[in-house]
């Protein structure tokens, strides 16, 4: 379990063409999370969610500010679940699991099998990804991310490409695994309902990568999509989300009026 500290983070992308303006993806963002916690980052598309994840995982660098991830005094280990499964198509499911492991031999094999078992795929180790449905491939992606025993697990809209029924079943399965393995999770999504069902805390970003709200979700687990308490919380958060959208549109409208000649 790791500590993630985001401190006055700014990220600006330079103008692509001469004459166009540079884009602010993240604007003075600060938050911290630590320990056994499931935190979602929610916001409309283009609010800098994926940029944040890229900076946390060091694929991208901040313009100013700092992001630090630590686990005691050693560098933290990451696990990653992407929007699409990103499995090597020419390796079997088991070989895909072993591809990201440090160890080899029968220990690594058994270890990988344990995690495949958690997503109900212990018998699919010998299959190629093309033999599995999209949902099963994404399960392998989840098993792979947990199997490296990450200090911080980053998830980038992992269910957005799945059909509603498969996504729903995977959300429940993800909760079970998370409760069992007790990891620090940073989960990015544009789906407010999903965030409410899964998270202990929701960080809402507004357009332009500003922090809009930081909302704790205190509901007992396991949470099912059909639970009344979950549905009520979802409705409340959704209202706040809509209020934010209106506020943003209002501000934009005001800006346009004042900019008009």
């Amino acid at each position: 379990m790791a500590t993630l500290r985001v401190d006055h983070l700014n990220k600006t992308f330079p103008a692509i063409e001469r004459g166009s303006e540079s884009t602010t993806a993240i604007d003075d963002l600060s938050f911290e999370l630590s320990g056994y916690v499931f935190v979602s980052v929610v916001g409309p598309s283009g609010c800098g969610k994926s940029t944040l994840l890229n900076i946390v995982s060091a694929i991208d660098a901040p313009t100013t500010g700092t992001v630090s991830v630590f686990e005691g005094d050693r560098p933290a280990r990451f696990g990653y679940v992407f929007q699409d499964p990103r499995l090597l198509p020419w390796r079997t499911v088991m070989q895909n699991m072993l591809y990201v492991q440090d160890g080899k031999g029968s220990d690594a094999h058994d270890h990988a099998l344990d995690y495949l078992g958690m997503v109900g795929l212990e018998d699919a180790g010998g299959k190629f990804p093309s033999q599995l449905s999209g949902g099963m491939q994404q399960r392998v992606g989840i098993a792979r991310a947990f199997s490296v025993e990450p200090d911080l697990l980053l998830m980038d809209e992992p269910f957005s490409h799945l059909d509603a029924i498969t996504a729903r079943s995977l959300r429940e399965q993800l909760q079970e695994i998370w409760v069992r393995t007790k990891k620090t999770v940073l989960f990015v999504t544009h789906d407010v309902m999903e965030a409410v069902q899964l998270s202990d805390r929701i960080i809402v970003l507004a357009q332009g990568g500003r922090l809009y709200a930081d909302i704790p979700i205190e509901l007992p687990r396991p949470r099912r999509a059909s639970d009344t308490a979950v549905a009520t919380a979802q409705a409340q958060i959704l209202q706040r989300f809509e209020a934010m959208q209106e506020e943003v549109e209002q501000t934009r409208g005001d800006a346009e009026v004042s900019a008009a000649p």
């Binding site: 995982s57 694929i59 280990r77 990451f78 696990g79 990653y80 992407f82 699409d84 990103r86 090597l88 198509p89 020419w90 390796r91 070989q95 591809y99 990201v100 109900g120 795929l121 018998d123 699919a124 299959k127 190629f128 093309s130 033999q131 599995l132 449905s133 949902g135 099963m136 399960r139 792979r144 490296v148 980053l154 059909d163 029924i165 498969t166 079943s169």
Partner: protein
Amino acid sequence: MSIALERRAVRGGAPGAIRRAVTSDIGARIASYLFLLLVWQLIALYEDRFPTPAEVFGFLWIEVTAGSHGGVVRGQFLEHFAATLPRFALGIAISMALGMVTGVVIGASKVAEALFKDTLLVLLALPAIIWAFLTQMWLGLGDDAVVITTFLSAFPFAAVNVVQGVQAIPRDLRRMSSAFGVSTYRRFRYLQVPAVTGYVFAGLRFAVIIGWNAVLLGEWFSASEGVGWRSRYWYDANRYKGFVGWVLVFILFIVLLDRLVLVRLQRRAFRWRDAQLSAIEREAEEVQLGVTGA
């Protein structure tokens, strides 16, 4: 309704069976060979300098089996093949080895691409006969000229395919590998090599076809035995059935090599791609594994 059924019944009858036999994969192929033989026979009937299929096959039979005939030494079919094959194999081996190294360098480095891509295009455009002439001028008669002609002709095809393969390694999988901190060795062995394999096979098939063409041209000009030399021998002797017979042998060899060896190797390397199941089969798998979505 009943009319439609009747029509289908007629279609399913004898003419339908013939049509199916002719349009099936093997049937169509056999039909096309028979058609070519027929055209060949017709041309030979009206053109004296064109040997008939029977003459050519009769000649080949003697070339394969007989010891000596009319004072000309024959029955050397296998010996000529035995002379050609090592030259061909060596030429292809060198072009594949250097083609892969060059392809990886050009594919992975923008600078190398800027420096060498045009050179590679020029090499692709040069016909094998130019190399056959040049190597004969540089090296005279002998194995070296033939092997180098084969190598120079096949190499650019191997290299260009590998360049494309290296440039096509999926970016998503590269990012996944760095996100999980996968070691350089594992990335090479399990991501880069397999991603490029398909392109290497495409390069190998091109190299083999172009290289076979080149080894024969090389032998035509620079050898004193071998398949290419033997066809020139009959050409120079004005024995058209001998020349045409050997041309047929070239074609047969390359077709068999491609069908029996290269296509099978390729299929083996792409087992993972052929494992693709239909939606129905996949659903059955899911039920069996007990992991249906609901």
